[in-house]
């Protein structure tokens, strides 16, 4: 497939997905659920300096970061770090893994000629929960390890360069997109084919490798919105100083809201691509 054709496929998938989402906006509801959990955890962490939350969250914060992070405005310096830890290591494996599968399941309902249903997809996803959780766990672990490795290498090579942090951020972003492109189909495969984690991962890698450029771009486009929020978050201390430290909450909430659409688009794009491709393959096999 030439680059023109690949871009044509990307354009077609985007068009199909937007058409579908306009017709069935409730497909984004799983990501609204993720956002609600994120906001809930964000507020819990935000309330860490106050009772009764201080009783539970206070000791680990004091132990790992110091007592000053239970006081204003230092709590806002720590808040993004804490939130992203909870999001990556708790909400993503426990909640997002299922919700991504629910979204994929709802899109699959549509291609079966049925009305996309959250509850039906959710019930099915729950039955495949362990596999979904493991896929998400593997994706997070790989992203984390590669991220650490990149950070180590870049810090070694560019130790004297003051923008090494920014370089690390940008390089990590593009590599994370690549990892997501490889894993993205696994949720859908577990959901619609009922496969186990290993065969789902294998099929996801094979399918993604065959269409890597297309998948990468389809993941990258929505993730650019997350990148924009990430850039804002990197300037957190500047905004804290320019406005008030509480602005950190606003930045994180913006990120959560943007993620409803970016996550929604990423998994709608890849689900559409996978299902349409399979359909095309099946019909060509029949003829």
């Amino acid at each position: 497939m030439g680059i023109k054709e690949k871009l044509g496929v990307i354009g077609y998938i985007i068009k199909v997905t937007f058409k579908y989402l306009l017709k069935h906006p409730k497909t984004l509801s799983p990501f609204v659920v993720i956002a609600l959990f994120n906001i809930l955890s964000l507020f819990t962490l935000y309330l860490a300096p106050l009772y009764p939350f201080k009783r539970i969250l206070g000791p680990p914060i004091v132990r790992f970061w110091g007592v000053k992070f239970l006081h204003y405005p230092y709590n806002f310096i720590l808040l993004p770090n804490l939130f992203f830890k909870v999001k990556n290591f708790l909400i993503n494996p426990l909640i997002s893994s299922v919700m991504i599968a629910v979204c994929a399941g709802m899109i699959y309902h549509y291609y079966l000629g049925q009305e996309p249903s959250f509850s039906r997809a959710f019930n099915k996803a729950l039955r495949r929960y362990v596999h979904l959780l493991l896929v998400m766990g593997a994706m997070i672990a790989l992203t984390y390890l590669i991220g650490r490795f990149i950070s180590y290498v870049l810090n070694k090579i560019f130790s004297d360069w003051k923008n090494v942090g920014l370089l690390n951020f940008v390089v990590s972003f593009f590599i994370t997109v690549g990892i997501e492109a490889l894993f993205a189909y696994a949720f859908l495969i577990i959901m619609i084919k009922g496969k186990g984690i290993l065969s789902a991962l294998k099929e996801s890698f094979v399918f993604s490798s065959g269409l890597f450029f297309i998948t990468y771009i389809l993941v990258l486009i929505p993730r650019l919105f997350d990148l924009a929020v990430g850039v804002l978050a990197r300037k957190q201390l500047y905004f804290m100083d320019k406005f008030i430290p509480d602005v950190t909450l606003l930045i994180i909430i913006t990120g959560i809201l943007v993620a409803i659409f970016s996550d929604g688009l990423v998994y709608s794009f890849v689900s559409n691509l996978y299902i349409l491709r399979k359909k095309a393959k099946d019909s060509s096999e029949k003829t």
């Binding site: 659920v33 609600l36 906001i39 809930l40 819990t44 300096p49 106050l50 204003y72 405005p73």
Partner: protein
């Protein structure tokens, strides 16, 4: 997800948001931080600050003091009200605000000492040295361990010097030196002693008595050879040799002494670098 689930989540979110409204001490910290920022900004541009801006900040600080009377930082807020009047030259108002610090916050020793000290300086400005000295004496008697009290001998010596009263100034410097030596010798490992060492050096520095400074510092280093004060005293001696007396050989000998005597000092790396650079410089010169 049915409506009941959604209602529960929204309800929990509402409770959390409501909780953010009743956050006592945290709210005090937040308000203090915000007023403190205003205060620092005003200090940075006193000349262009209007009396309305001063008044507005005074009102904010007063609200803080009234709302959280038992909160430790309220004493500091009260002190700052006095400072804002003092900056504007409204000395009588400033004095009455400083008086409130001492009366209302007797347990805030550091802030009370500062308030008494500034009251003394106001009386000095009013050319009432007798009353001023009474306040300075009070600081030294009632709060002898505060840095404000320890700074007073040096402050007075400098004050007399600035007024051209050389004899009084010399006498005050000598008294200050004695006082500082006593404090250092009493507890050479305490942070206070290390800070007072700076005051001691300033006494010599103001009169450019470098050799006397070296003798005095050497005595401290010899008397308490393993103390933190000794380490700092040696470092200052080396700096005096290097920058004031331009005797690089002696400076290097003292730097080497620090390396030998304090192998665990955090200065070790910097000093090793210093000698490495010197060596490279010497090699280049000999070539």
């Amino acid at each position: 997800m049915n409506r009941v689930d959604l209602t529960i989540i929204v309800f929990l979110l509402c409770i959390m948001m409501l909780l953010t409204g009743c956050y006592g001490q945290y709210k005090a910290e937040r308000e203090f931080w915000l007023t403190n920022r205003k205060y620092e900004r005003i200090l940075g541009r006193v000349d262009s600050t209007t009396s309305e801006e001063f008044e507005e900040l005074i009102v904010d600080l007063r609200k803080l003091v009234i709302s959280y009377p038992s909160w430790p930082y309220s004493a500091l807020a009260q002190l700052r009200i006095g400072n804002l009047y003092n900056i504007q030259g409204k000395y009588d108002k400033a004095l009455s605000e400083y008086k409130k610090v001492i009366e209302d916050f007797p347990s805030s020793t550091v802030v009370s000492a500062e308030a008494l000290f500034v009251m003394g300086t106001i009386y000095q400005r009013k050319n009432d040295e007798q009353t001023a000295n009474k306040y300075f004496d009070r600081v030294q008697q009632e709060y002898p361990d505060t840095l404000t009290a320890l700074n007073i001998p040096l402050y007075l010596a400098r004050y007399y010097k600035s007024k051209g009263r050389i004899e009084e100034s010399n006498l005050a410097y000598d008294e200050a030196i004695q006082r500082y030596k006593t404090v250092i010798n009493k507890a050479p490992d305490e942070t206070k002693a290390i800070l007072v060492l700076d005051y001691l050096v300033n006494c010599y520095n103001d009169r450019e008595k470098w050799n006397e400074a070296i003798v005095s510092l050497r005595n401290i280093a010899n008397r308490h050879p393993e103390s933190a004060s000794a380490q700092k005293a040696l470092l200052i001696i080396a700096r005096i040799y290097e920058t004031k007396l331009k005797d690089k050989q002696k400076a290097d000998a003292v730097y080497q002494e620090i390396i030998d005597k304090f192998p665990d000092t955090p200065l070790q790396e910097a000093l090793t670098d210093y000698f490495d650079k010197n060596e490279r410089g010497n090699v280049r010169n000999s070539q």
